[in-house]
């Protein structure tokens, strides 16, 4: 059997096990182990010996330590009421525009995304804060839930971003460079969502009526309240890019600062700290178990030589690189119908990455290509969070907005998906946008 045939068999078994409710990490582990044993001719000793190294090697990875730290940082921010302060600030500035409260929700999502590495946490937290306001201002259910479900994705589009850390670890790319490259596309995403809201309320003014104007003193007060958050974000980002700290250390600074802020001004107490720790612990375990499984799977796949064979085949096929890349991106959109962002990245990057790196795009250097591809992948897996039937953000927001039918939310999110597609096309054809900051500030 060729490597590709064994690899394909492994993927078929993997899908069956996933359908039968086996946990993703365990599925990957078992399938990887099966592939490994097959390639070793059924000899069990090498398998048992390679397992000796699996857990400690993965868990002691220095770069991965940023994940629990960023998760803890988001937890502290949540338990310290920072999301409410953020929303109130943006809302006091633009709430009196037509559609302004929805725009403020998006802006607050972006702000929260700047200290939180996860989309669902961003969607849930901001939904909690913004939905009641949107309802009070008589915004349509579709616009409210659509804007928040899409806005939640800014949690991973704007750094820090857990999927980017995983991509960095899988591809040996620099976390700092990937975060830097994500900044402009993340801002473009935010602006795109805001434009969508403007267009919707221009076409249908009753969907997003203007709110009351807020007095200047109140505006200033609300800005003052989010200043610490902005400072934390700056410290983390400048820490990474300005050179006082590597990402793990910067995440430490961020987590400590958010924790202190939550205790001092957010009223977080022992119970809140415990909840934060347990929350971060659960999410970390969830991610790391899939990582352990992915390690075994990737080892098994490497032995089959399937990724290398596929990459060679694609390179020699004479297919246009852009065609191949577009096909890959489409596969992500389809996988997003049934799978989660991180699982998709862990499953596919070992196969797609060598393929893409073997092709020529716009004269990019290998390093640039790898960063650019990482951001594109982030953008397409993010779509999976908001497209039916199983976009997690949709369900989180829809559940929070009790009186909005699910069909309204699906309808509401469509215009935002259109802006996602426009943005991905833009970034696909103009890699310079993604690479601008990396090229300017080096690294």
């Amino acid at each position: 059997m060729s490597g590709i045939a064994i690899g394909a068999t492994m993927f078929a078994i993997l899908l069956v096990m996933l359908v039968l409710r086996v946990h993703i990490g365990i599925t990957m582990f078992i399938v990887g182990a099966g592939g490994y044993l097959t390639m070793m001719g059924g000899e069990i000793a090498p398998f048992l010996n390679t397992l000796k190294n699996l857990a400690y090697a993965r868990l002691s990875n220095y770069d991965l330590a940023v994940i629990p730290m960023f998760l803890l940082m988001g937890q502290f921010a949540t338990h310290g009421g920072l999301s409410r302060a953020l929303f109130r600030c943006v809302s006091s500035l633009v709430g009196h525009w037509r559609g302004g409260v929805a725009i403020a929700s998006t802006g607050a999502c972006a702000g929260f995304g700047a200290i939180c590495g996860s989309s669902l946490a961003t969607a849930a937290t901001m939904g909690q804060v913004a939905l009641p306001e949107l309802k009070r201002c008589n915004y349509s259910g579709a616009l409210s839930t659509g804007a928040l479900a899409a806005g939640g994705t800014l949690g991973i589009l704007i750094p820090p971003s857990v999927p980017l850390v995983i991509y960095a670890v899988l591809t040996q790319e620099s976390i700092g460079k990937l975060f830097m490259a994500a900044v402009l596309p993340g801002l473009i995403a935010m602006i795109g969502y805001m434009l969508v809201i403007r267009i919707i309320v221009t076409l249908k003014p009753e969907a997003g009526p203007a709110g009351p104007r807020v007095p200047l003193a109140e505006k200033l007060r609300s800005i003052a309240q989010v200043t610490p958050v902005a400072l934390i974000f700056l410290v983390v980002i400048v820490g990474i890019y300005g050179g006082w700290a590597n990402p793990t250390e910067a995440a430490s600074i961020g987590a400590a600062a958010c924790g202190i802020l939550a205790v001092v001004s957010g009223g977080m107490r022992a119970e809140g700290i415990r909840e934060s720790v347990l929350g971060a612990a659960e999410a970390t375990a969830m991610i790391f178990l899939v990582l352990l499984g992915a390690d075994m799977l990737n080892t098994g796949l490497a032995l089959t030589q399937m990724p290398a064979e596929l990459a060679h085949w694609v390179r020699d096929s004479g297919l246009s690189p852009l065609l191949v890349l577009t096909a890959i991106l489409l596969i992500y959109v389809f996988l997003g119908c049934v799978m989660d962002a991180l699982a998709m990245i862990l499953l596919t990057i070992p196969i797609f990455y060598p393929m893409v790196m073997g092709l020529e795009f716009w004269g990019l250097t290998p390093d640039e290509k790898s960063i650019w591809f990482g951001i594109l992948v982030l953008m397409v897996v993010e779509i999976g969070l908001v497209h039916p039937p199983v976009g997690m953000n949709i369900y989180i927001i829809n559940k929070a907005a009790k009186d909005v039918p699910l069909t309204d939310t699906f309808r509401g999110v469509m215009p935002f998906l259109a802006s996602d597609l426009a943005r991905i096309t833009l970034l696909l054809f103009f890699p310079a946008i993604t690479l601008y900051l990396v090229r300017t500030f080096g690294g």
Binding site: V19, L20, R21, V22, H23, I24, I26, K52, A55, Y56, L59, S60, Y62, P68, G80, G81, R84, A85, S118, L120, A121, T125, Q128, V129, P132, K135, R136, I156, V162, W244, T248, E249, S252, I253, A255, G266, G267, L278, G279, A280, A281, E282, A283, T284, A285, I287, F288, L289, V290, D340, A341, A343, V390, M392, Y395, I396, K399, A400, A401, K402
Partner: protein, 219 residues
């Protein structure tokens, strides 16, 4: 309409866990609309916790308490390392004097701390899986599949615990040590073994709960 996939990305699952969520408790006195907030039960994100998944009976409660203590210990260790990183950055920046070996201490500490989280995640049914294709099944059908899944998880956890234990022994025998501080390399490896044993135990417990449901026991 149930969602299929639980996102890995669910740092959420976390923030969502207790019904009082997120920023709402920020002491802002604006909780008037709190009932509109996300109200997720323990085990949260949609698909998860069937009631039978939750800690139940004396053993369930004990295991839940043990896994919670384990996760809190790991979290404390992480916070200590955050403190160490801060001291190291300040020391390096101001006095050109980083905490010696901060890099390797973090590696060892992070490995031990992360391992303590798995069992807690299992007890609150936080590990991710695809639910999309099977929610039409009757409850007992799903319980059966979930029981098998938990059994497989327990098996893998035991296997990893065993092999990691063997790795700790060979590391001890080879006498390897960390680069800067010369700390023995086998200690952190050995310390993650109990965490995986607890993880395996919780998984087997949950498998038992699910098969109990299959056998007709509702509670």
């Amino acid at each position: 309409m149930h969602t299929s996939v639980v996102s890995l990305d669910a740092a959420a699952a976390a923030g969502l866990r207790p019904t009082k969520v997120c920023g709402a408790q920020g002491g802002e006195g604006e909780g008037a609309n709190e009932d509109a907030g996300v109200q997720l039960e323990p085990g949260s994100i949609e698909h998860v916790a069937q009631p039978e998944a939750l800690p139940h009976g004396p053993w369930g409660r004990r295991l839940y308490a043990a896994s919670r203590v384990s996760a809190l210990m790991g979290g404390t260790l992480f916070m200590l390392m955050i403190g160490m990183s801060l001291v190291s950055i300040v020391g390096r920046k101001l006095f050109s004097l980083p905490v010696p070996g901060d890099f390797e201490v973090l590696q060892m500490g992070a490995a031990v701390a992360s391992a303590t989280f798995f069992s807690y995640c299992q007890m609150v049914d936080g590990h991710v899986r695809v639910d999309f294709f099977t929610h039409w099944l009757p409850r007992r059908g799903r319980a059966f599949l979930d029981g098998v899944a938990a059994l497989l998880m327990g098996g893998v956890a035991l296997l990893v615990a065993w092999r990691t234990g063997v790795a700790a022994v060979s590391s001890y025998e080879s006498g390897e040590a960390s680069l800067m501080l010369g700390w023995p390399g086998w200690v952190p490896i050995a310390l993650i073994v109990p965490a995986f044993v607890l993880f395996a135990t919780t998984s087997l417990y949950i498998a038992g709960r699910r098969f109990h449901v299959v056998a007709g026991g509702a509670q």
